[in-house]
Symmetry: C2
Subunit: 337 residues, 2 copies
DNA sequence: AAGGTCATCGTAATCGTTTACAGAAAGGCG
DNA sequence: CGCCTTTCTGTAAACGATTACGATGACCTT
């Protein structure tokens, strides 16, 4: 754990100048003899270049940050899983930020781009405020946002269409003959929360079903909170025959509550979730879910960022990943092998 | 995306020297008037300190790396989830490395500590070679290893006791009356693979059961490979009444195969896994699993590293997290609410 | 042999900070 | 008022790399 050799150490041992050392190590044309002496000196000393010093001069760190609300959420983890290999292949390291959905913390991450410890940022904010947008515009490094931002915001953007997603699920439930379809959502002041709320109302209208506020309950995007919300919902609307959940963790909570209260899924109550996390497939009954393409979105974000890091100035791009309904036993009762 | 102000810019605007700017920004004693001028200049310019330059001088990056074999593995993700908040609270950022269980890649991560882009490393190698140990000893920054290393290795180390873990599970299966207990393992040249293999044999002996090599099958630590291995196992030993799986992904694969081949779990075949990943609790039937305390190990590793970063030289420490059997329906049939 | 070309090398500046050191200003005291 | 002590501030040297520029010497040409 000593203090490690620098190019100066090498220069002394090889009897050349630090400039020559640098040139050799960077493969610039140098006399054969010098190359040999420098390389063997470097080898003997176990030289490893100091990336901090290099970054200071080159203004590149080969690091990229990913900021998400909550590292415990499987959706974000699925994204990390896709982002990491893409960046790694391009020679970038991935730095993780978990912001606890705190706006100040997210703005802070954006501001911290000025510290230059990363070359770019992929961010997936739960809420998008004015302050966010200002900070994004002022950011000192390329940013890719996953999630909807207002039209006209000048930023690379990956979005999905959760409105259509909700619609797909409700159509499916309706086609199975369900008419009293409850809805359990997360906070309405979040981007997904508000989008899914209006989507639910619209889909009902399109299906010719009445909007009954007794069928709607709001909790949070976690399993325990989801379970609690489902309990409240069942108390208010014991006659419902289906529950649409704003994400899969809520849906897993719903399965817990329904099992505990002795209702069969899907015979008594069909359940659908959103995000299609890994656990959806192994749950019992396996959970019907709307895939919002977390993996694709993660990969697309990484690729968009890499492209921007290569190109610098170009028009911001928007990539939309379409939702896809994954039907499983929690709605149809049929096991998919 | 312009080039951002530096302390030089601030110094000019405030009419002081860069030394004074630095002092003010670092809270060193300075005349009231100077403080005010520097701070307002910094404010107006939207100054953000360059962390790369600061790191070069201070020799600290406030970053810590976590290197794991496969970022897709829920066990490692569970660790990331615990490590991140601990580091964040201490002001460190977390950099992720996925090494694909490649020895060369892992050595590379160790070597790259010399690049000084992180202050420390938490590593969880699947295989531990001579080269690993050499690289660890030579590492230029503190390292914490999760997983067993040879006695006497001078490194902070978090371990669990998977031997006892296997023993717990087999005792449990035996107490349920199972006598033909199969074992599906991952590669034997990995640390967990070899440990669990000997543990299985030992536990059988302790229970007075014969070792039947027809009851043992080797695949890999993934769901699909696990399923394939279980298929082979069932073909060779159709009369088995329990399967011990070397990890939960294999166990999930086992559940898939058993269901597909029409065997009831646990009536016909009881199944137990290891690691107690999130999915174990939601699977159907819910999976009995040996928790190796992934969360605790992650947290302990982070704390050990922080302590070492604070203390510098001290004797290496070893923390052992005991295994714990989590009984669920896949062995007892009783649902745990 | 003188002059020119070319490859190679070393000196020094630079990136943006921190900090040792010395100089300047200010205050206290006889 | 002069001297000493105490603040405070500026100059300059690090940290470890990259790189522009000019110096050096080998080699070729005439």
């Amino acid at each position: 754990m000593s203090d490690g050799p620098t190019i100066t150490t090498i220069a002394e041992r090889a009897g050349v100048s630090i400039a020559s050392v640098s040139r050799v190590l960077n493969g610039l044309p140098t006399r054969e003899n010098t190359v040999r002496r420098v390389l063997s000196a470097a080898e003997e000393l176990g030289y490893v270049p100091n990336s901090v010093a290099r970054s200071l001069k080159s203004r590149r760190t080969n690091q990229v940050a990913f900021a998400m609300a909550d590292i415990g959420n499987p959706v974000y983890l699925a994204m990390v899983r896709e982002i990491q290999p893409v960046l790694k292949a391009a020679g970038y390291r991935l730095v993780l930020h978990s912001t606890d959905a705190d706006v100040a913390d997210e703005i802070d991450v954006l501001r911290s781009l000025g510290e230059r410890y990363v070359d770019g940022l992929i961010m997936i904010p739960l809420r998008v405020s004015e302050a966010h947008l200002k900070a994004v515009e002022a950011a000192r490094a390329p940013v890719v946002i996953i999630g909807s931002v207002p039209e006209g915001t000048r930023v690379d953007n990956i979005r999905t269409d959760s409105r259509t997603g909700v619609r797909l699920a409700l159509d499916h439930l309706h086609s199975l003959g369900r008419r009293r379809i409850g809805f359990v959502n997360g906070p309405l002041d979040t981007v997904p929360g508000s989008a899914r709320s209006t989507a639910y109302a619209e889909a009902l209208t399109a299906l010719g079903l009445p909007y009954d506020e007794n069928l709607v309950e709001i909790g949070d995007f976690y399993r325990a909170e989801g379970a609690a919300a489902v309990s409240r919902l069942l108390a208010r609307a014991p006659d419902l025959d289906a529950i649409m959940c704003a994400n899969d963790l809520i849906a897993l909570g719903a399965l817990d509550v329904l099992r505990r209260t002795g209702r069969r899924v899907p015979e008594d109550v069909a359940v659908a979730g959103m995000d299609d996390i890994d656990m959806a497939a192994v749950a019992w009954p396996a959970l019907t879910s709307v895939s919002l393409g977390s993996a694709e979105r993660g990969r697309a974000a990484a690729e968009l960022l890499l492209d921007r890091l290569g190109n610098g100035e170009r028009e911001p791009r928007v990539v939309t990943v379409p939702p896809r309904l994954v039907v499983r036993a929690s709605t149809t009762g049929e096991e998919t092998p």
